[in-house]
């Protein structure tokens, strides 16, 4: 108890520091919980205050939320969520939200991106979805909405349209403007959006000089499905758990937990400890299958296909565990607001412990084999460097930033579930390269084994679900989870009619894409698939490659397979001849 009060004091000092610097610009201070505070500031001071919190107070940008609050206070609003973790102490770390109201008749706000580059995607998205113009944002292109979407129709404005409205396509071809990189000998290499290995569609364009990549650009959001609007209109609080799970088929359970905990925190619902343990176990189970998937793909991309098959063979054990505990290999469907839907009995516990032991010994062998494969180290060391300075500017998350020397891990920085009740270690490496990121994942698997085993041993008695609470309209809070790919941060504002007023979900990969561009630079084309795979995006490769040779003014289309083969074998460059 004493610790908690002290913790709050420690956290208040960040807010006090902002007051002493910006005093009159801060209009309101509202604490959602002990470690979540929202400061409403004057619109014109937004960029300075976010910059101070980001660089001055050791903050990282975790989410930006646009909201249509015209029916509440006559304004639009933007919320910049920062995780202040300068002291690396879970009792002192703070979720600081800077909020500013945007007038309804003049929908624009000063862009934060020139001061804090990490805001770039968020501000483009707010413009797409709400029609709020970030003044001073250099990138004027769409981010989320497809090219065939009409101008001036902003889906998330409450009065814009019914959630089922499907406007006729306004374009019969994609017209996204890629950045143009010019210079002698620079070649443009587009990849996508369809691809053979796995995962989501996305379109890449690499600018190469000879074999070296000088820059890259990408068009993603081919899978924008309108979930946030759907949740606000069609679903009740419990149903959104299942929708959140379908943000991502690989780390969906993390999203479901992030959403549920945001609603629970906003409404002051206490989740029973046993349910917290069960959620923790399932989150780690998800990490197991996801990291094994990524290690398998890495093996494939360095040309070690036998290893790839072995990783997928042992990964089936993780899938089996999920089926035993939840009834489904994927899409666990375990969350309701207030707890979980299934208990873990002795029978299931014993089966899972046995499978973990098997998986651990299999993994020992496989990892040993992988790192001793002659070309594995040479292909991954020093490749796809994520410079710590670039990382600081763009707030990447997960194994991606932990491979560049930072120890950012939401499980430790802002503990939730049972992570502060069992012992485990944050894994971090200093190599900044593909190898470091892979090793972080490999070692995290062992931490996950530990967490699952310890949670299964220490599960407290009692219920797995609370009932009988009521939802309080108009409250809001954050929910956060360290998914396999990094933190997922959800923000929920409750509404009346048993529906969310606004649900904003930010997936981990969202924070990892913007810095990818810098990781490509200076590497060879043959490493591109490996670099993309090393951030473990919900996306891996592309279907075909068009090579545009600027010097010869000649375009050439080659099969993606050729590029992938080139990545594996590094012989017969498709760019030559």
């Amino acid at each position: 108890m004493e610790n908690e009060i002290k913790g709050q004091q420690d956290r208040k000092k960040y807010v006090r520091a902002l007051y002493s610097k910006f005093g009159a610009s801060i209009l309101e201070e509202k604490w959602q919980t002990q470690d979540q505070v929202t400061l409403t500031v004057k619109l014109n001071t937004l960029p300075e205050i976010v910059e101070e919190a980001y660089y001055g107070q050791g903050g990282w940008l975790s989410n930006v939320i646009g909201n249509d609050e015209r029916s509440i206070n006559g304004h639009f609003a933007v919320y910049y969520v920062l995780s202040i973790e300068a002291e690396k102490d879970p009792n002192k770390n703070l979720w600081l939200t800077i909020k500013a109201l945007v007038p309804a008749d003049k929908p624009e706000f000063p862009s934060v991106t020139p001061r804090v580059p990490a805001a770039v995607w968020y501000e483009r998205e707010v413009r797409d979805m709400f029609g709020l113009e970030p003044v001073g944002l250099p990138d004027a292109r769409r981010l989320v909405l497809p090219d065939d979407w009409p101008d001036n129709l902003y889906p998330l404005r409450k009065d814009a349209m019914d959630y089922r409205f499907r406007p006729d396509p306004v374009a019969e071809e994609e017209n996204y403007q890629f950045i143009g990189v010019e210079g002698e000998g620079i070649v443009e290499v587009p990849l996508g959006p369809l691809h053979i290995t796995s995962d989501e569609p996305g379109h890449f364009r690499l600018y190469v000089d000879g074999e070296y990549i000088v820059d890259a650009d990408y068009r993603l959001f081919y899978v924008h499905r309108g979930m946030e609007k759907l949740a606000e209109n069609r679903m009740d609080y419990d149903q959104v758990n299942f929708l959140a799970e379908r943000i991502c088929g690989i780390c969906g359970y993390a999203h479901s937990v992030a959403y549920a905990s945001a609603v629970e925190t906003a409404n002051g619902i206490e989740v029973p400890p046993r349910a917290q343990y069960i959620r923790t176990i399932l989150l780690e189970l998800e990490r197991l299958h996801s990291h094994l998937l990524n290690l398998g793909l890495a093996a494939h991309l360095v040309g070690f296909d036998a290893g790839f098959m072995h990783f997928f063979r042992v990964r089936e054990k993780a899938m089996q565990m999920a089926e035993i505990l939840t009834g489904s290999r994927k899409s666990y469907g375990m969350n309701l607001i207030g707890g979980v839907r299934r208990d873990i009995l002795k029978e299931q516990r014993d089966q899972v412990l046995r499978l973990i032991a098997e998986l651990r010994s299999e993994l020992d062998d496989l990892l040993d084999m992988l790192v001793n494969t002659p070309n594995f180290i040479s292909r991954t060391q020093g490749v796809g460097r994520l410079d710590p300075k670039v990382a600081r500017d763009f707030s990447p998350v997960g194994p991606n930033i932990r491979g560049s020397g930072y120890t950012r891990d939401t499980r430790a920085d802002h503990p939730y579930g049972a992570y502060d009740r069992v012992s485990w270690n944050v894994i971090s490496k200093n190599g900044c390269d593909v190898l470091s990121r892979l090793l972080v994942r490999a070692e995290e698997l062992y931490e996950s084994f530990k967490i699952i085993e310890r949670c299964l041993d220490a599960m407290p008695p009692g219920p797995v679900l609370v009932e009988g609470f009521t939802y309080k309209p108009g409250t809001y809070a954050l929910g956060y989870v360290e998914a396999p790919r990094g933190e997922d941060v959800h923000w929920v504002m409750t509404g009346n009619k048993q529906k969310v007023y606004r649900w904003r979900s930010r997936a981990s990969t969202y924070n990892n894409w913007p810095s990818l561009r810098y990781m490509f630079r200076g590497n060879t084309v043959s490493d591109a698939p490996l670099i993309v795979a090393s951030i473990d995006p919900c996306y891996s490769c592309t279907e075909r490659v068009t090579v545009v040779d600027v010097r010869k003014k000649k375009a050439k289309t080659i099969q993606y397979q050729e590029l992938e083969q080139y990545c594996r074998e590094r012989k017969y460059s498709p760019l030559k001849n």
């Binding site: 419990d238 072995h310 035993i324 469907g333 084999m369």
Partner: protein, 189 residues
């Protein structure tokens, strides 16, 4: 290289024998929702809970039919229907071989008869649901007499319940049979 070969030998054959032999799924596997028509009361709890709207309910007020529909092609196999069903009419089975050639084969439909409101004469609720509630009222030990007056309440549609509270108070003087015909107390044999 040799280690890899050794490993391969160690592991042997990892492949399952399915589809030549049935495959064992875990206890509690969430497969096709199996529907037991004889236990469905048409309360619609499953349709309200279903996140993807795979289960829907329709009322045909002309024919006096309430229908229950499922689209297995939209189902996400979450089991919420099973969780909320008060009578155990829907249970997720272990069945996963659901592929079909014709889209229609993914749909199932059940029709339940509706009861008329004793005031306005409109169809409003299934006989089964009213009977089910009556049965429960009887079992919790309410006397036949007071239970019967409660049954009359059950046969008033929500609209009339709201607007005609005073008239309902007089209900105990009536006896209503299952077809919703209103009769003076005592005239029914």
């Amino acid at each position: 290289m040799l280690r890899l070969l050794k490993k391969a030998l160690e592991v042997g054959e990892a492949t399952v024998e399915y589809p030549f032999k049935p495959i064992e799924v875990a206890q509690g596997f969430r497969g096709k929702p199996a529907y037991d028509f004889s236990r469905c009361i048409g309360c619609g709890a499953c349709a309200t809970a279903c996140p993807p709207n795979a289960i829907t309910m329709d009322c045909d007020l002309e024919r006096g039919i309430k229908s229950w529909n499922i689209n297995y092609g939209r189902c996400i196999f979450c089991g919420r229907c099973e969780e909320v069903c008060p009578t155990g009419a829907i249970v997720l089975s272990k069945e996963f071989e659901l592929a079909v050639i014709k889209k229609e084969d993914m749909y199932c439909r059940a029709e339940l008869k509706l009861c008329r409101c004793i005031f306005c004469g409109e169809y409003f609720e299934t006989f089964r649901e009213i009977e089910y509630v009556r049965e429960i009222l009887e079992q919790v030990g309410l006397t036949k007499k007071s239970s019967e007056s409660r049954v009359q309440f059950l046969k008033v549609c929500p609209k009339c319940r709201r607007h005609k509270v005073a008239r309902i108070a007089a209900l105990s003087n009536w006896h209503v049979d299952l077809n919703g015909r209103r009769e003076e107390n005592g005239t029914r044999s």
